[in-house]
Each structure stands twice: as C-alpha cells, then as structure tokens.
Amino acid sequence: MTLTGDFGFQSAMSSFFPLLPTTLDERYHHHKSPNSLWVSSGQELMNNPVPCQVFPLVSGGSSSGYCSGMYVSAHERSSSQARQSVPHVSVETQSLPVTNQPQEQRDMSWPEDQLQGFFDFPVPDPQAESSSRAKSEWPDWANQMISVDDGLEPNWSELLGDPNVLNQDSKIPTPSCDIARQEIVVSTQHQLDSSSAKSPQGSSMTSKQRMRWTPELHEAFVDAINQLGGSERATPKAVLKLINSPGLTIYHVKSHLQKYRTARYKPEISVDTEKPPLKTLKTIEDIKSLDLKTSIEITEALRLQMEVQKKLHEQLEVQRKLQLQIEEQGRYLQMMIEKQQQKMQDKKIGSSSGSEADTYSAPSPNLSQASITERLQSGSSSLEQKGSPSGATKKRVRED
C-alpha cells in the first residue's frame, strides 16, 4: 500500500507542480493589465492589486487599522472569488468613515493634553490616595503598555476625518507596468500625516515601518537574490535596488533576507543527510518490514492530522463569516434604532400629528438582534418582534 501511496505522491507531485507556473502566470498576467497602476481611490482599489501596505509601526493599533482596510491582495483578483470578496471589502472601507466617524469622536476622542498628562508618571492626581492605589492595582504589563502606546487615537480619528485624503494623494504614476512596483503602495500622504502628527514620537520610530509581505513581492525578492548569485552573496542594498519598489526600505529587505537565509539553511541540512543515525542493527528484512509498518502508521497519522487541520480551518472560516455577519447586522440595527430615535425626538419637538409616529413605532423599533441572528440561522426572512432591542435578549437560537 505504501508503494501505491508513494506512486500517488510522486505522480501527484509532478502533476501538482506544473500547476504552479500557470497560477503564477495568471497572477502576473493580471498585474500587467493596463489599468493596474497605483491605488488612487476606493474605486480603483477594486481593480488594482495592492498586496502590501507600508504603515508606521507605532500607530499600528489605530491608523494602520484604517490603512490596511484598503488592503486588497492580488490573489483576490485572479479568480471568481475575487468578485465576491472584493465588493465586500469595498463596503467595509467605504462605510467605515461614514458610520463610525460620529461615534468615534464621541466615544474615543479625548483632549490630548489630558492623555499626555496621564501618561506622565508619576500621575499628577489631586486625590493622592486613589492614585497610589490605582498604580498598585494595575499589573506591570498594563503600565508598560500604556507608556508605549500614546498618541494613537487622535491620529486615527484624524484619519477618519479625512477618509479620502489617503486615496487622492497617493497617485504616483509609474512609467512601466513593473510587477514589483505595483505590488507596493506607498501611502506617502499617510506617512506625512503620521510623521507630522506624531512628532513627539521621534523620527526614529517613524523609520520603522511595518511591512506586509506578499507572495508576489517575495517572488520578486527571490528573483533578485538569484540574479545576485544566491542568498549568501546578495547584499540587502543590491536586492533593494533590483526589486526597485518604492516604499520598500533596506530595513525591510535586511530582515526579510535574514529570515530567508534561515529558512533555506534548515531544509538544506535535512535533505543532504542520508540516513538518520537512529537505525538500530537489524536484518534487512526486519528493517524493511518495520519500515513498512511504521511508515504506514505514520502516513495514516499524518493523514489524520491533515484532516483535523482542514476541519479546524473550515470551521474558522465559517466562524469568521458568522462573526462578520453579526457585526454587520448589529451595525445596521444600531443605525435603524438611532434613526428611529431621531424621528421620535423630532416628533416630540415638532407639533405634527401622531399618525406618522404610530406607523413607525409598530414594526421597526422592536427588531431585535436576536431575531436577526435567528434569521441567519434558519434562513427565513421573517422577523419576529419580541423582546427588548439590541443585545439584552436571552434568546436561544434553535439548532438546525
């Protein structure tokens, strides 16, 4: 059985690998389409590959959160699933500034001087008792984290305030449809914003941009390495020049090269060593039959492991979809409720007749999140009107 298994493996390997060049070709071919230049607006985003984003390390928590919302990886384009996933991303990025801005500013913005004052240890607090208690209450890790993390929020809401600033100003025309160039979007405007908004951070911080690599970019990297005669001989500077991608810094290349070298070094060892020294002295037959048995078992164990992993992966995808849906529904519901409340407010203020209010108050305010979740579950489109709005309902969803 092992023989056939191995045959299967080999033939599968040889049949699998030819697939690779074609898929890569597919991607490259897409890249070379005339319209795929720099990302300049939300619209073009959908057509262009933006496999990697460069954004400041320190503000990763907030502003990068916004920027990476524009991340549309190249792979999403080259197949039909791009049709499905891309519109979804566009909805996210476009709706984010609209719906969140008012809430954001209400909930999370606070006077920056207050924040600064807080982060200055020892905390200047009129009530000395409570402040000393406060400090001892929090574990060290919390204090540490706070001192690292400042100035995030204002930057983010600032970005939110200008949702299209990023898009409009990053139009950088490229003379050629070089793949490597297309693969990195340098949000130069963003960098300017970040460096100006976070000048208290110091210029050393902004130089550390966090880079998100993509397979395509890595491909370009490997090509450059090979051109330069291998990973040992290639220098970061030369590689950087060959890749020729704006936004890619030598720091990125350096760290990536280091990782690359490490990754290559390990498998080289295992491939070259002939037999592991663990084989005990036995007859040839014994070894063969033992090998066969254990290798069968090992293969089976691997197969099982693979099955379990696949299952987990599948479940994670399902869970993620559901979570996104729930959030989407929740936001929609919130919006509806707020609209409703607004209308009720207006009705109270105004002296108009109650007839409109009556028709409104009946159906919609009683939409509950629970009922929407149930709808998700059962697939039916009828909404029940039960319970109190938004979240407090303790309703069990029926298991299908």
């Binding site: 390997m13 966090r210 690599w213 099955e307 869970q319 979740t373």
Partner: protein, 249 residues
C-alpha cells in the same frame, strides 16, 4: 467566565513561542472592575494588545510566505530526484516532506485560529466593558478591529487551502481505507499527539465546539453551535492525555 478558561487552555496547548502573544483576557477582565480605570486607559490597553497581535501576525505571515515557497521548491527537487520509480531510498525523504507539509499547513491554520481567538476575546471583553460601565465602546471598536492586519487572514488562509488541495491529491483516500485508517491511526495519533501542532489543532477544535455550545449570557451577538459534519469521527479516536488535567465543564 467560560471564555476565560477556554482561552487559557488554548494558550496552554499552543506552540511555546506563541504563548505570550495572545490576548490578556483575564487581566483585562479584572481591570474592568477596577474603579480607577478610565475609558481612555482601557482603549489604550486594547490598542496595545492589538499592536502586539499585528506585529506577531505579520511576522508569522512573512515567515509563512518564505516557507511556502521553500516547500514548493523542495517538492520540485524531490520529484525530480525520485523520477518515476519508487525507490525505497527516497521513501524517507518523501515521508519527511509529507510531515513538513502537514505541519506547515497546521501552523498556518493555527495562525488563523490565533487571529480568531483574539478577535473573539476582544469582542467579549468589549461587551463586558460596556455591560459593566454602560458604555458604547464595543461597536465602533470592533469596526476598527476588523481592519487590523491580524484580522485579515485571507492570505494565510489561501496558502493553507493551496496545501489542502495538494494534499488531497497526495493522500487519496477510499472510504474503507478511511475507516481502517482511523482505527489504526488512533494508536499512531496518540503518539503524534505529543506533537505540538497536532495537539494544538485538536485543542482548538474542541475549544471552539465547547465555546459555542451555549452559554448563560447567550445573546444576539453569540455564535450558533458548531456544526461539524462528522465531528466525532475525527475527534473520537483521539485521546490526548494531558499532563495537566484540564477540567471540561
């Protein structure tokens, strides 16, 4: 309370280098009850946590991209070396290759799991905060989370799926083989379960199932129970003996 336990289990079972990269759920939960906690501090802490996730995730992703390519080269080289004949001398290398591939796939899935757990934890902690403090922090914050690098697992997911397709071709399996395989592999798998990745994966699946079984605070934002097509078929033969007894409630 249940999630706190679950995430702790997950962390325990996870690969050693990952253990301090998870959400500090318990600590944050305890902080919520502290009166001196202001919203700004809390948000600051959450942001710091997210920064941690982002840094770790992006780094792992980069490693995966490199490794992904290397594995492909290795397979190609091996295929060329073996040719079309089944030489027994290569069986070991092939076996090694298989193992590395499966483990690589496993690690990628675990990274996706990592992302999910942290997202879920954040959502829950925000919910707790709002409940305790009567705030409206959850919704806008979650919107922000959705755009974080660590949440965007598309690439890793895609790479993992590529290997799944490959492995399906490499491991063709008939039904009878499958049954026999599961029985026999129960022995082998309990040995293999010592392996970090496999152990972690199974723990993750079990955790997910447990977490979604239903809770006392079931609400509209809760996920429905896990629907595995044949959960017990895969998970039953596996019995991971844990050195630390993990109480399953």
């Amino acid at each position: 309370m249940k999630f706190g336990k679950r995430i702790k289990e997950q962390i325990q079972e996870s690969l050693p280098e990952w253990r301090d990269k998870f959400l500090r759920y318990k600590e944050l939960k305890n902080l919520i009850s502290s009166p001196s906690l202001t919203e700004s501090i809390f948000v600051g802490l959450l942001n710091a946590e997210m920064e941690k996730f982002n840094a770790f995730f992006v780094e792992q992703e980069e490693d995966f991209i490199i490794h992904h390519k290397e594995l492909q080269y290795r397979i190609k080289r091996l295929a060329e070396k073996c040719g079309d004949n089944d030489d027994e001398t290569f069986r070991e290398e092939i076996g090694e290759m298989r193992k590395d591939t499966v483990n690589f796939h496993g690690e990628m899935v675990l990274l996706v799991n990592y992302s999910n757990i942290n997202y879920t934890g954040l959502a829950k902690i925000l919910k707790k905060y709002d409940k305790r403090r009567g705030g409206a922090l959850r919704s806008p914050f979650i919107q922000k989370v959705l755009h974080q690098p660590f949440f965007k697992t598309d690439l890793v997911s895609r790479l993992a799926r590529e290997w799944e397709t490959t492995m399906d071709a490499v491991f063709p399996m008939s039904n009878r083989e499958a049954e026999r395989g599961y029985e026999r592999s129960a022995v082998a798998s309990s040995a293999a379960a010592g392996e970090g990745i496999f152990r972690n994966t199974v723990a993750a699946l079990v955790t997910m199932r447990e977490m979604r079984r239903g809770s006392s605070t079931y609400s509209a934002f809760s996920l429905p129970p896990v629907n595995l097509s044949d959960p017990d078929l895969v998970l039953r033969p596996i019995h991971i003996s844990s050195p630390i007894p993990i109480p399953y409630s």
